[in-house]
């Protein structure tokens, strides 16, 4: 199947006559059928859990695939309030937004320093930050935990934000350095002639010009932190400070699990992301691609 691709690449620009004829080749039917099947595997599970989330525990056990007998939002209401998902969503939002803002600012500052400032250690600094991309979060879990516990940062949102910011830095620096290096030299020269200082050049000229980069890194950090489970699970024990992924496990009791509410919780956890994704999907996908290619 892959062999057919260069043809399309060639015909695509001048393919107007061909597509007007609406001649459908068998091979493209096969491709479409295949792609539709693939997409079904993506949508069906989500629909299934959506369906189940309206059922009672008993219905789930007896008829997991049937439509719910009646549509009620009890499961959702329960998960939202009693399951603390409301406050968990708020916590996730706080942690992710703060981490996003901080890591973008700090990261792009460092990226600017590396890409634009002239100093001997800039290459070395870049390598230093880039090694961070290879380091799994698990390796620092224990020392961070004991350290944070010692200075009273465990079980606080700040204790989550700090590592989140730090672990977002390498990718931010990586992508933003690419963007800053790509800016024309004349721009900075010009601004310099007009009497702008270096911080004005950075905040007023370079940052706005790298909006795409900011968007991409911001998204990546936000999504990554929004879904992060391990750190949040280890660091946070207070119900009122738990983030969304951690709260999902609340419905597992000592001797029984509250299935219907757990399904509602799963939906609550993924619906905001799906909505945001649907609203911006093209921008997100293109942005992420742009970022990846830059790197």
């Amino acid at each position: 199947m892959s062999s057919s691709r260069p043809e399309a690449a060639v015909t695509a620009p001048g393919a107007v006559p061909a597509s007007r004829k609406k001649k459908v080749s068998p091979i493209s039917i096969v491709i479409y059928v295949f792609l539709v099947l693939i997409c079904v595997t993506y949508i069906l599970p989500l629909l299934w859990v959506f369906n189940v989330s309206f059922k009672t525990n008993k219905e789930i056990f007896t008829a997991p695939f049937a439509l719910p007998q009646e549509i009620t939002f009890d499961n959702y209401a329960f998960a939202w309030t009693a399951g603390h998902l409301g406050i968990a969503t708020l916590n996730s939002l706080i942690v992710c937004v703060v981490a996003l803002v901080l890591s973008t600012i700090i990261g792009s500052m460092a990226a600017f320093g590396i890409a634009r400032m002239r100093w001997k250690g800039s290459k070395l600094a870049m390598t230093y930050f880039l090694t961070g991309m290879m380091i799994p979060i698990h390796c620092v879990l224990i020392p961070l935990f004991t350290r944070f516990a010692g200075i009273g940062l465990s079980n606080t949102l700040v204790g989550l934000i700090l590592p989140y910011v730090t672990f977002s830095l390498p990718i931010t620096i990586f992508i933003m350095t690419g963007f800053f290096t790509g800016l024309p030299n004349e721009l900075i020269e010009c601004a310099c002639m007009e009497g702008a200082n270096i911080f004005q050049i950075f905040f007023k000229i370079c940052l706005p010009l790298s909006r795409t980069g900011l968007f991409v890194t911001g998204l990546m950090t936000f999504i990554g932190n929004w879904n992060e489970l391990l750190l949040a699970m280890v660091f946070i024990s207070d119900d009122e400070k738990k983030t969304l992924p951690v709260s999902l496990s609340k419905f597992v009791g000592p001797y029984n699990t509250n299935y219907s509410q757990m399904f509602a919780a799963i939906i609550i956890a993924i619906i905001p992301t799906i909505i945001v994704y649907c609203a911006f999907s093209n921008k997100i996908v293109d942005g992420l691609t742009a970022g990846a290619v830059k790197g």
Binding site: L35, W119, V165, T166, N227, P245, V293
Partner: protein, 295 residues
């Protein structure tokens, strides 16, 4: 201007926040982690240096053996499968004329969703009483497999399932990277190759593949590190069970560190994980990324 860009104070201001965070939240903890790995450290008492004992203990730890094997399996599987499927999807999608964005967005969607939530979802889908087994039995298939509880074979069935779920979730990432790279290839290259009489397959082999090679390296390193860090899905689907058969390094580390509070031992697992990540990245970049082609 040169003077401004060489100003030590401004360089310091740009670099310092990132440097401090990085050093204190990432670098020093790693050094600490390496030290702990040579210690008997049970959490409630201070670490005591014991040399290589933790590392020798790793060799006789059966669960570590399983975890290591599974992590390696996972690494190879996800690199190969994501490379093949990612390329396949990318090639197909750059080939079709209508609906490209829809397919692309659907396939990419799970990448932005919480793997904790998706893990729970798939756990239920594969559980004997609720999910697909009910469907299979409805279709008259007797004794459908116990997807997540089977323990036969070198790589157990649950491990394959988890690997496929991971492929399902993350293949969009690789696909996007390859698509971006393919659509960046200059169309005239293909036209030239057709004029020269190349077959479609040859064009793919000699033009597309070499030109996306750098991206293959990037995507592979991302996959490799991602699969070594892999935690959320397994934690929510099987928690390493049955009988530790689906344990990977990250889950074993979590269990030893935070369930049984063997900080020293868990740190040793973390150090192994770190070394693996570094080795794999180096290896991929050495083997795959040879030279950059001009596009």
């Amino acid at each position: 201007m040169d003077k401004m860009l060489r100003n030590k104070v401004s360089i310091l201001i740009f670099m310092l926040p990132a440097f401090l965070l990085f050093t204190f939240v990432l670098f020093i903890p790693i050094v600490q982690s390496v030290y702990y790995s040579f210690c008997e450290y049970k959490g409630m008492t201070d670490p005591v240096f014991i040399g290589f004992d933790n590392y020798t203990a790793l060799f006789s730890d059966k669960t570590f053996g399983i975890a290591f094997k599974n992590s390696m399996f996972f690494l190879v599987f996800s690199c190969v499968s994501q490379l093949l499927m990612g390329l396949l999807y990318a090639v197909l999608l750059t080939n079709i004329k209508a609906g490209r964005n829809i397919f692309k967005n659907i396939i990419y969607l799970p990448c932005v969703l919480s793997s904790a939530a998706l893990g729970l979802l798939w756990m239920f889908i594969f559980s004997p009483k609720l999910g697909i087994n009910q469907l299979l039995e409805g279709m008259g298939i007797e004794d459908p497999p116990l997807w997540l509880m089977d323990t036969k074979g070198f790589i157990t069935l649950p491990m394959w399932i988890i690997a496929f779920v991971a492929l399902w979730q993350y293949v969009g990432q690789s696909m996007m990277l390859y698509m971006a790279q393919i659509s960046g290839i200059n169309k005239s290259l293909y036209e030239a190759s057709y004029i020269d009489g190349c077959t479609k397959f040859k064009t793919f082999r000699y033009i597309t593949l070499p030109l996306i090679r750098p991206m293959v390296a990037t995507a592979l390193s991302l996959n490799a590190i991602g699969s070594l860090k892999f935690f959320d899905l397994i934690f929510n689907m099987t928690e390493g069970g049955p009988n530790h058969k689906t344990e990977v390094l990250a889950t074993h580390l979590y269990q030893q560190g935070f369930k049984y509070f063997k900080y020293g031992y868990a740190s040793a697992i973390g150090v192994i994980l770190l070394i693996l990540c570094l080795l794999v990245t180096l290896f991929i970049n050495k083997v795959v990324k040879t030279e950059q082609y001009e596009m």
